[in-house]
């Protein structure tokens, strides 16, 4: 059933290359704190240093850090898997990761200024400062935490896929990888991924550029790749590339994903750690370079068909392609790139989640100091490991989908607070509740699908991103309640 799965792993040379690069990354990251030296222990002891890199990252480090934690190992595994399974439809990740940057340019520099002025490190900090509502702060923090946990779990799933392809059996390699991740974040804080993101990105670029030049040559050029992949898909209606009824889901999923992308704790942490607002503007110009990489990675899903890989586990196609096409040592290099590609974002995610716990969710006595943040980051990772070991990985994927719907519901509280239009905290809170409840209900009612079918009179239905529908509900309720509440409050005040 699987043409490649039974095939040999990358051999001793490949495993040696993999282990060497993986160990090097851990060492570089873990020692990031010491090598910075600066004022020695004092600097490393402050939470702002550990959790936000002291807000010191310039254009290039921010580029590597944000690029490195937005485009995760799960991207490298899951985007081609989706394209493999659904063809052109899976490509919605491309418009998503393009239109996200005009949004980043318009919104994030302002958010950075607000955060810098108030000493905020999380979305919930900002919301509390803007609205004065402790309840809103807590729900925004809890939503971020719920959304990030399955995301970390998926990084570990990605790592396990790669370790499996290397021929390392069982859960032992995963536990080793996890311990590595924990040590790396504990010692280095946000400096660890900032230093190693560079290594990771260069390796992923090399692996992917090699793949998209070498593989089509094996398969007879891109024309042949598209033609051959087309034969494995349900044919599109004449004159189209997408299937019937896929256009609206394609566009709305791209839009809702783009709006949600920088509301996650890990992406926001990367943005807030920038040195100044202009660093973020420059990055909005430069970050699309990663989208080019993503587009090429997505093509691997089509190449897998052309290469004759036939599997019911689409998540294995990228490792399978590497093993099929490259010599053992280079396959080892590529697999290491993906594994390190899981480590970097997982570390930023754990730091982002720890920031939420220590700053917004825990009672004051438990939140002091870097040690508390380190312990929280560790607990977050143990929870994510628990997900992977104890639950069906499918559950992590479903939860990640729900997480995407949920995290988008923090957009009104976080982003509309920047506009002159002032919604009341009660309105925002009720909008959030409506969006969360409505979104979760639709996702469950639809059998855990990201698209909800809307009935347009008669038999016609149109699929729309569930996250976007939930956001509309959220905005309507927030606006409605704010408008109703305002006049009475004025009269009372």
């Amino acid at each position: 059933m699987n043409a490649v799965h039974g095939a040999a792993g990358p051999g001793a040379a490949g495993i040696a290359v993999f282990v060497l690069l993986f160990a090097l990354t851990i060492l570089l990251g873990a020692s990031a704190g010491w090598r910075r030296g600066r004022t020695g222990r004092a600097a490393a002891e402050t939470t702002e240093e550990w959790g936000l890199g002291g807000r010191s990252f310039g254009t290039w480090i921010t580029w590597f850090l944000v690029g490195g934690d937005f485009y995760t190992a799960y991207t490298v595994i899951a985007v081609p898997a989706l394209v493999y399974a659904t063809g052109a439809y899976g490509f919605f990740a491309l418009p998503y990761t393009i239109i996200v940057y005009p949004f980043v340019y318009a919104v994030m520099p302002r958010l950075w200024q607000v955060a810098k002025a108030g000493g905020h490190a999380t979305a919930a900090d900002i919301v509390r400062a803007r609205t004065g509502s402790r309840a809103l702060e807590r729900v925004v923090a809890a939503t971020g935490l719920l959304a990030i946990l399955p995301y970390i779990a998926l990084q570990l799933v990605g790592m396990r896929t790669v370790l499996g392809a290397l021929g390392l059996p069982g859960e032992v390699p995963l536990v080793v990888a996890f311990t590595a991740l924990a040590a790396y974040t504990w010692l280095g804080g946000l400096h660890a991924p900032a230093v190693t993101a560079f290594l990771k990105d260069v390796m992923i670029y090399v692996a992917v550029i090699a793949a998209v030049t070498v593989i089509p040559r094996h398969l007879g050029g891109y024309g042949a790749v598209f033609a051959e992949a087309g034969r494995h898909m349900r044919p599109a209606p004449a004159g189209h590339v997408l299937g019937a009824g896929q256009a609206v889901p394609y566009a709305t999923l791209a839009l809702s994903s783009a709006l949600a992308a920088f509301l996650y704790p890990h992406t926001l942490t990367g943005v807030l750690a920038a040195r100044n607002a202009d660093t973020i503007r420059r990055n909005a110009v430069m970050l699309p370079a990663y989208t080019l990489l993503l587009g090429l990675i997505a093509l691997l899903g089509l190449m897998a068909h052309a290469a004759g890989i036939s599997t019911t586990h689409p998540n294995t196609i990228v490792p399978s392609l590497f093993l099929l096409v490259f010599p053992g040592w280079f396959a080892g290099f590529c697999l290491a790139a993906v594994a390190i590609g899981a480590l970097v974002p997982a570390a930023v995610m754990a730091v982002g989640a720890a920031n939420l716990l220590t700053r917004n969710l825990l009672p004051a006595p438990a939140r002091a100091g870097t040690r508390a943040a380190q312990v929280m980051a560790l607990l977050v990772k143990v929870a994510a490991l628990g997900f992977v070991l104890l639950l069906d990985p499918l559950f992590a994927i479903d939860l990640q989908l729900l997480g995407g719907v949920w995290v988008l519901q923090t957009l009104p509280a976080l982003v509309l607070g920047l506009l002159p239009l002032r919604l009341t905290p009660t309105g925002l809170l009720m909008g959030w509740a409506a969006g969360m409840a409505g979104g979760s209900f639709m996702v469950f009612a639809d059998g855990l699908k990201p698209v909800h079918a809307l009935h347009l009179g008669g038999q016609e239905t149109v699929g729309v991103s569930t996250a976007l529908l939930a956001l509309l509900l959220n905005l309507l309720v927030a606006l409605g309640v704010s408008l109703l509440a305002r006049p009475t409050r004025r009269r009372a005040g």
Binding site: A88, F91, L94, P95, I98, I99, Y101, P102, Y105, A106, G221, Y222, G223, A224, V225, F226, G239, H240, V241, L242, A247, V248, Y250, A251, A254, L255, R281, R282, A284, V285, M286, P288, A289, T291, L292, G295, L299
Partner: protein, 59 residues
């Protein structure tokens, strides 16, 4: 001028969210169907547009 510059940021959204405009196989470029190369082409275009807005904003 600044206001108009900000409208440039909406171009990628319009160009990519109106799917019927590019949901077609031809004309192909270097073996890539139109659907694929059109979306890939928006990457450098978006970069340049954001850069332009940034320059105009500072001017």
């Amino acid at each position: 001028m600044r206001r108009i510059a900000w409208l440039l940021l909406l171009l990628p959204c319009a160009g990519l969210l109106w799917v019927p405009f590019y949901d077609r196989p031809g004309p192909a470029l270097l073996g890539f169907p139109f659907f694929y190369w059109y979306q890939l082409a928006w990457i450098p275009v978006t970069s340049v547009l954001i850069w332009l807005v940034w320059r105009l904003e500072r001017a």
